[in-house]
């Protein structure tokens, strides 16, 4: 379970995230929506412990992200925006480094590494340096890294950004396959994605939550039956007011 209380982040005078609160239950796939600069990435960076909040707090599976950082980070897997990884390492070396840090040992380590390589179809590139791979493969390496330790909480910042339709489909299948008892949070601009994989959608604009419901009820708001229209209506209304 993730508990977020009055989370706020200011950069100088600019308030990127403005006192947002919500809980996420196991089994939920939460889609985080919002225009560029709405505060999606900043919120994710605070949940994963990369940025310290200006005020408010985040608890992940009972561990405070500030204060109990190591335990909180252990239960999370995180795919940062753009899926960074160490370019000069081969896929196998990179995953082995992550396995070291994640304290995976012996049979479990072998089994997990094998499983993620299989799941993300990395067999063909396993001995290639990451920097020589295509964008789609790099993204998959980033995802492999995030799920290697079979985390309770998976957080992905724009996991399908820049992928072709087939790759997007694969990523969505993977997310769907993960979910039962886990918490998944993904951020995206792509609204169809929310409809396809998420059980809950939060729309944020200018650092505040402006909608928090199921994709179906969001859809029901629109006379045209298109998520795009709902999105525009909600986020633009916020800006005008």
């Amino acid at each position: 379970m993730i508990e977020i209380e009055q989370l706020t982040k200011r950069f100088g005078l600019f308030t990127a995230v403005d006192g947002i609160s919500f809980d996420v239950e196991p089994g939920q796939v939460l889609g985080f929506l919002g225009p560029n600069g709405a505060g999606k990435s900043t919120t994710m960076k605070m949940i994963t412990g990369f940025l310290a909040p200006t005020s408010g707090q985040v608890r992940v599976c009972g561990h405070k992200v500030e204060g109990d950082a190591r335990d909180a980070k252990r239960v999370m897997g995180y795919l940062p925006e753009g899926a960074p990884s160490y370019g000069e390492m081969t896929v196998a070396q990179f995953l082995s480094f992550i396995a070291d840090v994640r304290l995976l040992k012996g049979a479990e380590r072998k089994q997990r590494t094998h499983a993620v390589v299989e799941q993300l179809n990395l067999q063909a590139v396993i001995n290639q340096p990451v920097e020589t791979l295509s964008k789609g493969f790099k993204r998959r390496v980033g995802m492999a890294q995030a799920i290697l330790h079979d985390p309770q909480v998976l957080i992905m910042d724009e996991p399908t950004d820049g992928l072709d339709p087939n790759q997007k489909h694969e990523v969505r299948e993977l997310i769907k396959g993960m979910a039962q008892d886990k918490i998944v949070i993904i951020s995206t601009h792509i609204l169809e994605e929310v409809d396809a994989v998420c059980s809950r959608a939060i729309i944020i604009a200018r650092g505040r939550i402006v909608a928090d419901e199921t994709p179906q009820s969001l859809l029901a708001r629109s006379p045209s039956g298109k998520l795009d229209d709902v999105f525009r209506e909600i986020t633009c209304a916020e800006v005008r007011s």
């Binding site: 990369f50 940025l51 252990r74 940062p80 990884s85 340096p129």
Partner: protein, 244 residues
């Protein structure tokens, strides 16, 4: 401790996965050899010691060590990897120390590869090997000092060239802080106590006494505390700059 070792291993293998390691080692060996024999007059002096070799180390390090340290954090920030690294279950201090130790160990490897000089001088004469060992220790400590400065500066920017240039300038100031070129800058406005304190920070004076075979605890404490200070500054800088 285990996490430090994991980071260290990854960083060290990163040096050898790219040409950086080989270019550095070759240039270091060629330059240190050339300086020892040509400028240092290794043969002409007719003395069985490695003074002409170690005398050039501060100047070699001034340019070569920032070349090692410039990528430590600048690259991590530019590629966005810092976000991955710092959301793994390791602490900032472990990451900073692991990276620093990898770079230090790497310069240690380069330094150890100068052993043919030590063999030569033992073949040619009867040097005081205790002095040579002390000088190697001093040289390694000095390299650590340069590296800690460079690592901290590297965290202030995403641009490795900027990190290199600023590191060279700050290392230069530390190298010569006992000399008028640096002290005159402070004498005009700082109280005498500050000027004296700055004068006592010179790498050159601390290194030259060790390299003469005098292992004074104060010199060792100087280098260790200098390294500790800059690594602490390194964590502060990352904390401040990682969001940008």
């Amino acid at each position: 401790m285990k996490n430090i070792a994991i980071i260290l291993r990854r960083e060290l293998s990163a040096y050898f996965a790219t040409p950086v390691a080989y270019v550095f080692i070759v240039i270091f060996l060629v330059l240190s050899g050339a300086l020892t024999f040509h400028l240092g007059g290794f043969y002409e002096r007719g003395q069985a010691d490695l003074a002409p070799f170690f005398n050039f180390h501060p100047w070699l390090y001034l340019f070569l060590v920032p070349a090692i340290s410039m990528r430590l954090w600048a690259e991590e920030r530019k590629s966005g990897n810092i976000e991955l690294l710092l959301t793994l279950p390791i602490t900032m201090a472990e990451a900073v120390v692991g990276k620093f130790l990898a770079a230090w160990l790497f310069t240690g490897i380069a330094l150890a590869l100068t052993f043919p000089l030590w063999i030569s001088v033992n073949y040619l004469g009867d040097p005081d090997n205790g002095v040579i060992l002390a000088a190697y220790i001093g040289s390694l400590l000095m390299a650590g000092g340069f590296l800690a400065i460079g690592a901290c500066i590297s965290a202030t920017t995403k641009n490795q060239v900027i990190a290199f240039i600023i590191s060279v300038v700050i290392c230069f100031a530390f190298l010569l802080s006992g000399f008028s070129i640096v002290l005159d800058f402070f004498r005009a406005w700082a109280p005498q106590m500050v000027v004296d304190a700055i004068a006592s920070l010179s790498f050159l004076t601390h290194f030259s006494s060790i390299s003469k075979g005098v292992i004074d605890l104060r010199d060792i404490i100087y280098f260790i505390s200098l390294i500790a200070f800059w690594l602490y500054a390194n964590t502060v800088v990352i904390e401040l700059k990682k969001a940008s």
